[in-house]
Amino acid sequence: MSVRLTVDVQRTFPGRPSIRIRLDERLAPGEVLVLFGPSGAGKTTALRALAGLDRPDGGAIRFDDETWFAAVAGVQVPPQRRRIGLLFQDLALFPHLSVEENVAYGLGRLAREERRARVAETARMLRVEDLLARRPGTLSGGERQRVALARALAPRPRLLLLDEPLSALDAPLRESLRGELGALLHRLGIPSIVVTHDRTEALALGSRIAVLAGGAVRQVGRVEEVFGAPADLEVARVVGTENVLPVRIAGREEGLVVVEAGTARLVAVDPGGLQGEAFACIRAEEVVLEDAPGGATSARNHLRGKVTLLVNEGPLVRVTLDCGFRLVALVTRSGARDLGLVPGREVAALVKAPAVRIVPRG
């Protein structure tokens, strides 16, 4: 059973551009919608309005046939009655309560036996059974994260909201938890909305993505669509100069991983632990273009493609190629001139294996 979420949130701040976030999304169980954008884009405003923590200045929020907020009718359903789970950026665990009491906190309406069973079940799912007697202050970053998720999930929310879920963790831990969190969100069967400004996080967690910039939603779609074909220059600027290709892991050798992107094959440094579907990320400035295939080179990836589009960007030219998938290269104007790049011309694209980054797919 998918849920339909209709959002139109308006907020004005003195001395700053106002924010108007509009979304109309149908979310399947386990589907993750990412609100992606730079700070100040309106992500947090949207999330807090969805949770019922802030009252927008105008608009309406509907969850299936329930009205959570309607400015005109003066409706504002308090957070207590929205039955959502919210994971705060800094987790906001209750410091004076044990892990067990934190997880059981939202279960006041259940009978004691049922509550105990629910805590045990949730703790097992998030692997915090051994931490139940501890206080949050004594836990590691990763443990705190799992406890906060357990606390949010125990009351079985209808919608899970996550605010920059991995930003509080240090880098190595973030790497290892990213894939884990993505898998968990899909397995839970609860639709989720993740707010993030981190591209890798968006790729790893999201199945759909809404790009926010300047207080408005600029593009909504499947993650690879939005990253692969930004709707306009502003979205392109927000999502970055990176090629994001949906790939399938085909094999491994000598610490390298071979992936299939459409009909082409790419070699990348193996990040380890990934199977099946993934994303390959290549920065446009890392793609080297050359005439017909020449002699030996150290670059592991040679792709043949046809130029489809050339866009001048100051001293650089953004070259879009069709290599069986869409690949964008950023080269100098003189380089483009020397190669005689025009739409329709066939070229070879070279990418070193370390320039291809494999990330988990949400």
Partner: protein, 221 residues
């Protein structure tokens, strides 16, 4: 010999003042800590007024308000058959008002220091405002609340000016320890005044030591 009757009266007055201010002051403090109402500074100023007002000014207005010719005074006489002014009950009302900032300000400070996101987390987990106050805000603000209550008690114990204005000096009804000291000095009984004064000094010092110890205690967790 110290005036034991005055001692008992002072302690009763201070204890009742503290209890009432816990019941009345915590909701006010909770509102002050969270409200974004534009007229909040006015409410804050009213609460803080007894800090800067001369006790005689507050006492004077209270005396007029409680007097047999005022509506409050008349209603009191109609209900209980005796005047409110120069009675223990009148003294208690005065003491509560005079000690209000000593309770509300530390309560507000400690409730404000509770992380707002913990309160919001509790709301999203389905727990009501009152439930959140009792399960999250109150336990986390407890050291500050205890400190505020102790300060209130100490302040009410030694109050002089307002008591004199509203209560006068009736043994067993309105004569508190500080009035007893004044009395003793007037009768040139410096020995008794000295003993009572030393006693109040010791109690006040002890109370402050307790208060600062509580303030230093870190939040559990």
């Amino acid at each position: 010999m110290m005036d034991l009757q005055a001692l008992r009266l002072s302690f009763t007055l201070a204890a009742l003042t503290t209890v009432v201010l816990l019941v009345v002051g915590l909701p006010i403090a909770s509102w002050l800590a969270t409200s974004r109402w534009r007229w909040k500074p006015v409410v804050e100023a009213v609460v803080a007024l007894p800090l800067v007002l001369p006790p005689t000014v507050l006492g004077f207005y209270l005396l007029v308000a409680m007097g047999p010719r005022s509506p409050v005074g008349q209603a009191w006489i109609a209900a209980f058959g005796r005047p409110l002014a120069f009675s223990f009950e009148g003294l208690l009302v005065a003491s509560i008002l005079y000690s209000l900032p000593f309770a509300v300000q530390p309560f507000t400070a400690s409730l404000s220091s509770v992380d707002r996101r913990l309160v919001e987390a509790s709301h999203t987990l389905g727990v009501s405002r009152l439930g959140t106050f009792l399960r999250v805000s109150l336990p986390l603000a407890l050291p500050g609340i205890v400190a505020g209550a102790v300060l209130t008690f100490a302040h009410a114990l030694g109050e002089f000016g307002v008591v004199l204005m509203v209560g006068g000096n009736i043994a067993g009804e309105t004569r508190t320890l500080s009035i007893a000291i004044f009395d003793s000095v007037e009768q040139l009984d410096y020995a008794t005044a000295g003993r009572t004064a030393l006693f109040l000094l010791a109690v006040s010092f002890l109370v402050l030591v307790v208060t600062y110890t509580l303030r230093r205690r870190p939040v559990p967790g």
